[in-house]
Symmetry: C2
Subunit: 622 residues, 2 copies
């Protein structure tokens, strides 16, 4: 439109991420609740719509906005998303000239003053609508106007012109010349698993049923009933590719390595292939595909680790020496964090001239594995590669496989973690692993579950990882594991644990948050029924999550009052499903606290009895 | 740049108004303190600048940003504005490759590991800079490299390459190919009077020195010493144009009007002319120009009322009948707020086909009066005209007269008032007139003086206006006037009062916030020395404002603690100048309260004695 003629203004649109630069995120079945300040000069009426569609489709859908706070010019509307992929939407406002005319004229009619001239104006105004109404509506209008022509009194004409059906029709089809629209905004819709999932992380090579033996995909298949029994629905494998030989690391990351040491799977590639191959010790590609299918039978989806680390033996080094950084003497550079050297890893040089070849190859790998049935990728250290690369490769992968989920394993500064989420990562690691106290848990989870953050950042809470053995678990004993299990399963909807957590096991490297004899560097065997395990509790927590819709929503977390600083009290509601969680954050002793149940939020009157059902013990209280 | 190669990101730039859609506002001497989140993937160093210039000038100025919170990737810089008009600025970030090299290599040097290859890389990297350094810098670099060539040991080479002067030079001139820049943002710089001024509003026709006589510009000249004596520096006139005859309103807005009634000056235009003429009863245009000069001699600037209301006798009606709305019968429409009729006012139709003619004519009027020496316009009811018109006419006027100040007299919904300020109004009326209680004053002034609002909205606090005689003044007696005078002069830096306030005068229309016998409709005479006046107090308040820099800053307002809900305690600081204001909001009785002086903000130790100087009574306390 001619900007000079613009009368309505649309401001402060919500929800937006960085003013619409990045999409907001939703899952099928979600509502996108759009709000904005919309106004014009003067007192004339205006109207507004949210216009949305599945990106790329022709058909637009319209939902009329409602001014729910006229004093603040605050408008609202919502629409539902059900397709995976992108939606786009904009806001459009118009002058509602006919409603203005009816409103103003009614005041004269009611006041009993002469309104003959207004009637003539009303007819003129209504007639203008013939210029843009669609045929069926035009017919309706024409009939009304023809009927009006036969009337003799202003009162009779007023009856026809103020007919609510006519007013509604013309108000629904305002003058297109008055249209003002917002920029086009985007919604990224990921499947529900992006929001609600329980991850179990393991090294498949450490799944054998015999101490000292290299586990295989077939062993993992045998472990599936146990994993499914605990209620997990994502099985996340550390890298399964051939492991480098040169400078291979021994147990506990030692530089010395024996013939039989399996190496670190994050050093990818040897004579058997690179990122599109499987380690023959784990089995064949067919074994892997069989495992994918078997897992699906248990309702378990496989997640693959994607670590852009090449061992000195990776085929790329010979095929594409240009992809790597070289020293002035022509040799290829290994990874360094001066003065530390990582001689078993050669990083791809994303700054090289042929960087686009690297991008294309990475895309090929994602599509290759997606084709094999892997639709969840956990990306190792994405914050050390160019962010624009991730933005591109995620978008390109999802163009072909819209259901692919990318988890950003970035444990770094908050702005970088958020940026990766904005640029396309479906979900992200978080600082949960190091938040133990009431205040810090409350602050952090309020931030995570409140816009703008909840609109683009889905925090996948890991209790532990092969690299992180938190002090809280090191010192808190079995109760410590139980505390962290409850927090992880209820503070977010998506969480993960690394194998062994359920056994409350682990010996730390003294003074460090790391495991001694880490799975990363050696073959390990575990007794999955070792005494003291919390397998049953985890199974129960996962069952409770599945049975209670309130625990399947991400942004409905609320913190309630508990007097004791060691007692964290929070809850989630979804319709009639109200979950309250009370956690003793102190693993060493019983803590007592008054907790203040927010009965008003649950629609319970102050004098009303209500039942509380303890889902862990199955006790019921009045 | 090629977006694929982008490594740094600039986010969350502050201060911005609507994400940079509208300029922030400042006055000469102000600092623009720019902050942003700037980061890149990986661990390499980056650098950033704020680049700014007076809009339209060729020369850019650069100020390097500093990362003041590395954990949050938070960067800051500031620049000063001293020219009236627009500044533009952007943020630019780069990869700081040489600083990265020095940092990484230093770690190896310090750890005593071999760094020969790094030295070779450093030389190669430094050489690259020859590609973009300016000649004098290039010479410096070449000399350093030539010196390096003569060295035999890595240690000697390291000395040359890590020379802080060389590092600073190359860090100040990073690879232009890595440049990432923000959008261009704008600062509107208005003269200091936009922020700091004391307005006195009057009807010049009511300035005669004899009851019943129509005042003149010459009378106003005689009143100047009194007005200047009270400390006012802006004298704001309600419209001074010829007043319409047809349907002229009588006293108290009555429809009946006698021969001698002067009419309402907001009904502009008669046979003597329209908006570019002066009412002959006030004097000639020469008289007016003389008044402008005489006022300047007292340090007083004239502000003119700009009311786009045409009387039925305005020349426009004959010259430009197309500019008005017509009824179906061809007659021109007067103003209505159904069922109310305003038959003495014909509104211009900004929706007419020739609307651009109206725009041009309005611009002509602003330029006409600016030429006559009027550089402050108070715009009557801007919220009932198209906002895009204001945006245009303000911008066009300020192109020719950058010092022109526009005050938006919009008492309407907050979003409209804010929008007008964003679109170009220099300052705005506010809800101050109706904020009397401690909590509402605190809330409202926190909002006004905090970003984003303080970046675009300058609230001109009016104690009263010809249209508004607040209940607080109606009922509060002399103390009520004193309370409002103290609040107006200290809560904001710019405020106004309508003549008669200083006399604590006024008879209300019962049950309404309006004056009986309003100056708007009749000739009125006042005894400017009437007993009970607060002239001296106002003079003292204005003197205190001029003597204390803290009271000349808008956004330095802070509220402090006072136990009594009727006692408002706040303050302003600027350098060593600390002003505390304690106001009893209760006009009816003495109130007692403990107030908590924030000595830590004033740099006073808890055990230190300090003096408080009561600027109203000149008492001093220890």
């Amino acid at each position: 439109m001619n900007k000079n003629r613009q009368r309505t203004f649309i401001e402060n649109v919500q929800p937006l991420v960085d003013n619409g630069l990045y999409p907001i995120k939703r899952e099928p079945g979600d509502k996108v609740h759009v709000t904005a300040d919309i106004f014009r000069d003067g007192h004339q009426k205006i109207c507004a719509w949210v216009e949305y569609r599945v990106a790329g489709r022709q058909k637009w859908n319209y939902v009329r906005m409602e001014c729910t706070n006229p004093g603040l010019d605050f408008w609202e509307a919502e629409f539902e998303v059900d397709q995976i992929g992108f939606y786009e939407y904009c806001l459009a406002s118009y002058c509602d000239d006919y409603a203005t005319w009816v409103f103003d004229t009614r005041k004269k009619v009611d006041a009993g003053v002469d309104y003959h001239s207004d009637i003539l104006e009303g007819i003129e105004l209504a007639s203008k609508f013939k210029g843009w109404l669609k045929d069926s509506d035009k017919d309706y209008l024409k009939k009304a106007l023809a009927q009006a022509e036969k009337q003799l009194t202003d009162a009779a004409l007023w009856q026809i012109l103020s007919d609510p059906k006519l007013e509604a029709l013309l108000s629904a089809n305002p003058d297109p010349a008055t249209r003002v629209e917002s920029p086009l905004y985007k919604v990224r819709v990921d499947r529900v698993k992006a929001r609600f999932a329980a991850w179990y992380e393991c090294f498949p090579r450490n799944c054998a049923f015999e101490p000292g033996k290299h586990g295989t995909f077939k062993d993992v298949i045998k472990r599936l009933p146990h994993i499914a029994g605990m209620g997990f629905d994502v099985l996340y494998f550390t890298p399964i590719h051939p492991v480098g030989h040169t400078k291979r690391k021994g147990p506990n990351n030692s530089l010395v390595c024996s013939e039989t040491d399996p190496g670190c799977p994050y050093s990818v590639g040897n004579e058997h292939g690179g990122h599109d191959a499987v380690n023959p010790e784990l089995g064949t590609m067919e074994d892997f595909e069989e495992l994918v299918k078997a897992a699906a039978g248990y309702g378990i989806e496989l997640a693959m680790d994607f670590a852009i680390n090449c061992s000195p033996d990776h085929p790329y080094l010979k095929q594409h020496p240009d992809w790597f950084s070289k020293r002035p003497d022509g040799t290829i550079k290994f990874a360094e964090n001066p003065p530390k050297k990582y001689e078993d890893i050669y990083p791809l040089n994303f700054e090289c001239e042929k960087y686009k070849e690297i991008w294309d190859e990475m895309l090929r790998l994602f599509l290759f594995w997606a084709e094999k049935g892997v639709r969840i990728f956990r990306i190792d250290n994405p914050h050390t590669k160019p962010f624009r690369f991730w933005q591109w490769v995620i978008a390109e992968t999802q163009k072909k496989y819209p259901d692919v989920i990318f988890l950003a394993e970035a444990f770094t500064r908050p702005k970088l973690m958020k940026s990766l989420a904005k640029l396309g990562f479906t979900m992200s690691y978080s600082y949960f692993t190091w938040r133990n106290e009431k205040q810090e848990l409350t602050d952090y989870f309020k931030e995570l579950t409140t816009p703008p953050e909840s609109d683009f950042y889905r925090a996948n809470l890991f209790t532990n990882t092969p690299d992180i053995f938190p002090y809280f678990l090191q010192t808190g004993g079995r109760a410590g594991y139980q505390i962290r299990a409850v927090l992880a399963t209820t503070l977010s909807t998506v969480y993960g644990m690394f194998q062994g957590f359920e056994l409350c096991e682990g010996i730390p490297i003294p003074g460090r948050e790391e495991y001694l004899n880490s799975d990363k560097y050696e073959i390990r065997y575990r007794d999955w029924n070792a005494p003291g395990n919390i397998v049953e509790m985890i199974a129960k927590l996962n069952r409770i999550r599945k049975e209670n819709p309130a625990l399947q929503e991400y942004d409905n977390l609320e913190f309630y009052r508990a007097d004791n600083d060691k007692i964290l009290f929070y809850g989630k509601s979804m319709g009639d499903n109200h979950i309250m969680v009370v956690v003793n954050l102190d693993p060493f002793q019983t803590q007592v606290s008054t907790v203040y149940v927010p009965i008003e939020k649950f629609g319970i009157a102050p004098d009303q009895f209500y039942e509380v059902h303890d889902l862990l013990t199955d006790n019921r209280y009045w």
